[in-house]
C-alpha cells in the first residue's frame, strides 16, 4: 500500500529514524552525567551535609539515593539494606532501566533546588516561553533570510556588495554577543526596551491585555537578536544557491523570454529552497542552542534560564530534564522540516529519494 504513497513512506521512514535517535538521546542523557566524578549524591552531600548530625546526614543521603534511583527498593518503596546496614546499590544497567521507565512515564525526578517541585513542573513552566520565542523567530528568520539571499544573488551589484559582508558579519556574531550588544544599547543606553525578563515583574501571568502587552514589549529585543543572526546565516546560504541557479539554462531561457524579475526570482527560490530546507534540518540544533543562550542573556523565563539556574545550583535532575526536552524539541523540529521536504520535494513524490539521510 505504501508503494503508492511515496510521500507517506518517506515520512514514516524518517519518523522511525527519529525514534531511534530519540532512544540514543535518552541513553546519552543517562550516561554522560555519569562519566565524570563519582555519583551526584556525593557531590550534593558534600555541599549540604555540613552541620547535620550523622543520623540526619545518613537519612538525607538515603533520600537522595532513592530520588536518583541509585539503590534497590523493596515492594513498598523502602530502601533495601545489606547485612552491614548499607543501602544496596543498583547496577548501572538497572539504573538505566529505571531511568527509561520513569522517563516514559513522564517522571523526570525532583528538583534539588526547588524541592519538592517536580522537574516536569519546572520544564512545563518554561517550555511555552521558549516555544513562543523560538518558533516564530526561526520560521521568520528562515523565510526573510532566504528571500533576501535570493535577491542578493539576483541583483548582485551594489545591493550585494553592501548586503553580503553585512550578512557574513551578522552570521559570525555569536548569538549571545549580539544579545549583549542589543541589551546594552537599546536598554541601558537608550532605555527603549526592558533589559531582562519575559514580562514586568509586578504582573502575574494571565491572558489580560496588560500582561500580554508587557510580554510583547519584553519580546522585542530577544526576538531581534535571534532573528537577525538567523536571517543573516540563511541569506548567505541562499545567495550561493541562487548564484548557482542563475548560471543554469532555465534562468537564461526565462530571461530571454523576457519574464518578469519577480517571476524568475520565484523560480530560483523554489529550486534553491530544498537544499536550504535540508540545511535547516541540519542546523536547527545549533540554532536552538544559540537561542537558548540568548534567553539566558535576557533572563527570559524559558528553558535557557531554567538550565542556567539549574547549573548554578548543581540541580542535576533539572539539568538532565532540560537537556532531554531540548533534544526532544530539536528532534520534533527536524521531523517537521522533513515532513515539509516530503511534501515539497518532487523526488520524494516520485519515490526516488527513499533511504537518504
Amino acid at each position: 500500500m505504501l508503494k503508492q504513497h511515496p510521500t507517506a513512506r518517506f515520512i514514516l521512514q524518517r519518523g522511525g529514524w527519529y525514534l531511534l535517535t530519540f532512544f540514543v538521546a535518552v541513553a546519552i542523557n543517562f550516561l554522560l552525567p555519569r562519566l565524570g566524578s563519582a555519583n551526584p549524591v556525593d557531590i550534593i552531600m558534600g555541599r549540604s551535609s555540613s552541620g547535620l548530625s550523622a543520623e540526619a546526614a545518613k537519612e538525607k543521603e538515603e533520600s537522595y539515593l532513592k530520588e536518583f534511583g541509585l539503590v534497590k527498593l523493596d515492594a513498598s518503596g523502602k530502601i533495601l539494606h545489606n547485612a552491614a546496614g548499607k543501602p544496596i546499590k543498583r547496577s548501572t544497567l538497572e539504573q538505566f532501566g529505571n531511568y527509561v521507565l520513569m522517563t516514559f512515564h513522564g517522571d523526570l525526578g525532583t528538583s534539588f533546588q526547588k524541592y519538592p517541585k517536580k522537574v516536569t513542573d519546572v520544564i512545563l513552566q518554561a517550555v511555552p516561553w521558549t516555544i513562543a520565542l523560538q518558533l516564530p523567530t526561526i520560521v521568520l528568520g528562515w523565510i526573510i533570510g532566504n528571500v533576501l539571499g535570493a535577491l542578493a544573488a539576483y541583483k548582485r551589484g551594489i545591493f550585494d556588495k553592501i548586503f553580503f559582508p553585512f550578512a557574513i558579519l551578522l552570521n559570525s556574531l555569536p548569538f549571545f554577543v549580539f544579545g549583549m550588544l542589543l541589551v546594552y544599547y537599546f536598554s541601558v543606553v537608550l532605555g527603549w526596551f526592558p533589559a531582562m525578563g519575559g514580562y514586568a515583574g509586578e504582573l502575574i501571568p494571565s491572558f489580560s491585555l496588560e500582561f500580554l502587552g508587557s510580554a510583547a514589549y519584553h519580546y522585542a529585543l530577544p526576538f531581534f537578536s535571534i532573528f537577525l543572526i538567523l536571517a543573516g546565516g540563511q541569506a548567505i546560504g541562499m545567495r550561493s544557491m541562487g548564484i548557482y541557479e542563475l548560471g543554469t539554462d532555465y534562468v537564461k531561457y526565462a530571461q530571454w523570454l523576457g519574464l518578469k524579475e519577480s517571476r524568475i526570482l520565484a523560480y530560483i527560490f523554489r529550486n534553491a529552497m530544498l537544499p536550504q530546507l535540508t540545511g535547516l534540518a541540519l542546523s536547527i540544533g545549533t540554532m536552538i542552542g544559540g537561542a537558548l543562550i540568548t534567553e539566558m542573556i535576557f533572563s527570559y523565563p524559558g528553558l535557557g534560564m531554567a538550565m542556567l539556574t539549574a547549573i548554578q545550583n548543581n540541580d542535576y535532575p533539572v539539568i538532565q530534564g532540560v537537556t532531554l526536552i531540548i533534544t526532544t524539541c530539536v528532534l520534533i523540529a527536524n521531523f517537521s522540516v522533513d515532513i515539509l521536504i516530503g511534501f515539497l520535494d518532487p523526488r520524494v513524490k516520485a519515490g526516488l529519494q527513499m533511504g537518504g539521510n
Binding site: S37, I43, S172, M180
Partner: protein, 277 residues
C-alpha cells in the same frame, strides 16, 4: 601558487587574513608588549583611565591582562578542537565516502545521529559532570570530540564524488590498495576542502568555548573570553552599563570568528568560480 595569487587578489581574503593574523599576534606578543598581571590592581570595576586602558573587572584585575589571557585560551581551544574535529571528520568522511558498503552505512548512521542531537546539549551534560578539574584542555577535547560530525558529513560527500573518477580507476588497475589510493589519490584532491573545514572548525571551537563558559561551565583553571563574559553577566555589569566589562571581549570574539568566516568564504569563491563576480 596560482591559487594563492588568486586569493591575495580577493579583498575579502586579505581583510580576513589580516584580521586573523592581528588576533594571533595579539595573543602571541601580547604578554611581551603588556605585562600580564592578574592581581588586584584597582577598585572593583574601575573605569578605563590612567594606567588601566580598559579598566578593571569586579575583582579589580586589569582587563587588558585578562583579555590577552582570554584570547590565548580561546585560540588554544579553537585550534585544539579544530584539529581533533577535522582529523576525526576527515578520516571518517574519506573512509566512509570512498569505501562505501556497510562500513559507510554504519558510519553514516552514527554521524547523522550526532548531527541531530545538539552539540550544546552534549557539551552541557559532559561539562556539568566534571565538577572539579574542568580544565581548558579538557573543554577543547570535548568540543573537538563532539564537533566532528558535520565535517565528516561534508568530507564524505566530496570523497564519494571522487570515487568514480578515472584516475582512481587507473590506480586500481595499477594494483594500488584502497589505503594507498585514499592517501595518494583522494586526499590531495580534498586538501583545500579539508583546510576550509578546519578553518570553520576552529571558528566553531572558539564559539562553543565561549558559549559553554557563558553558561558557567567554562574552564576552572584559567581565563577565557567566555569566562570574562560570564563574570560580567553574573555580576550584573551588563545592566549597570559597565561597557568595558563585556564590550572588548565581545569585539575580540566577533572579529576573530568573523576573520575566519571571511577566509572561508573567500576560499569558497576561489575554488568555485561561479560564485565570483
Amino acid at each position: 601558487m596560482k591559487m594563492l595569487r588568486n586569493l591575495l587578489k580577493n579583498p575579502m581574503f586579505v581583510i580576513g587574513m589580516s584580521l586573523f593574523l592581528l588576533s594571533l599576534l595579539a595573543a602571541l606578543l601580547g604578554p611581551i608588549v603588556h605585562k600580564v598581571d592578574l592581581n588586584r590592581v584597582a577598585e572593583s570595576y574601575a573605569p578605563p583611565g590612567d594606567g588601566l586602558l580598559l579598566g578593571a573587572d569586579n575583582l579589580g584585575r586589569d582587563y587588558i591582562s585578562l583579555l590577552i589571557k582570554g584570547l590565548r585560551s580561546s585560540l588554544y581551544v579553537g585550534f585544539l578542537a579544530g584539529i581533533i574535529a577535522t582529523t576525526f571528520g576527515t578520516l571518517i568522511g574519506i573512509y566512509g565516502g570512498f569505501k562505501g558498503g556497510w562500513v559507510d552505512d554504519i558510519l553514516n548512521v552514527f554521524t547523522n545521529l550526532f548531527i541531530v542531537i545538539p552539540q550544546l546539549v552534549i557539551l552541557i551534560l559532559i561539562s556539568a559532570s566534571f565538577k572539579d578539574g574542568r580544565s581548558l584542555t579538557l573543554i577543547g577535547l570535548i568540543i573537538g570530540c563532539t564537533g566532528w560530525t558535520w565535517s565528516a558529513r561534508s568530507v564524505r560527500a566530496q570523497a564519494s564524488a571522487l570515487k568514480s573518477r578515472d584516475h582512481i580507476s587507473l590506480a586500481r588497475i595499477n594494483g594500488d590498495g584502497t589505503l594507498a589510493i585514499m592517501i595518494k589519490h583522494v586526499l590531495p584532491y580534498l586538501l583545500s576542502y579539508v583546510f576550509m573545514v578546519f578553518i570553520m572548525q576552529v571558528a566553531s571551537g572558539i564559539l562553543s568555548e565561549s558559549a559553554i563558559s557563558m553558561i558557567g561551565l567554562g574552564p576552572l583553571d584559567t581565563q577565557s573570553l567566555g569566562v570574562i563574559l560570564n563574570d560580567a553577566k553574573a555580576n550584573g555589569a551588563l545592566g549597570d552599563g559597565i561597557w568595558w566589562a563585556f564590550l572588548p571581549a565581545t569585539v575580540i570574539i566577533t572579529l576573530t570568528v568573523f576573520s575566519l568566516y571571511l577566509i572561508n568564504t573567500s576560499m569558497e569563491g576561489v575554488f568555485n568560480p561561479r560564485l565570483r563576480d
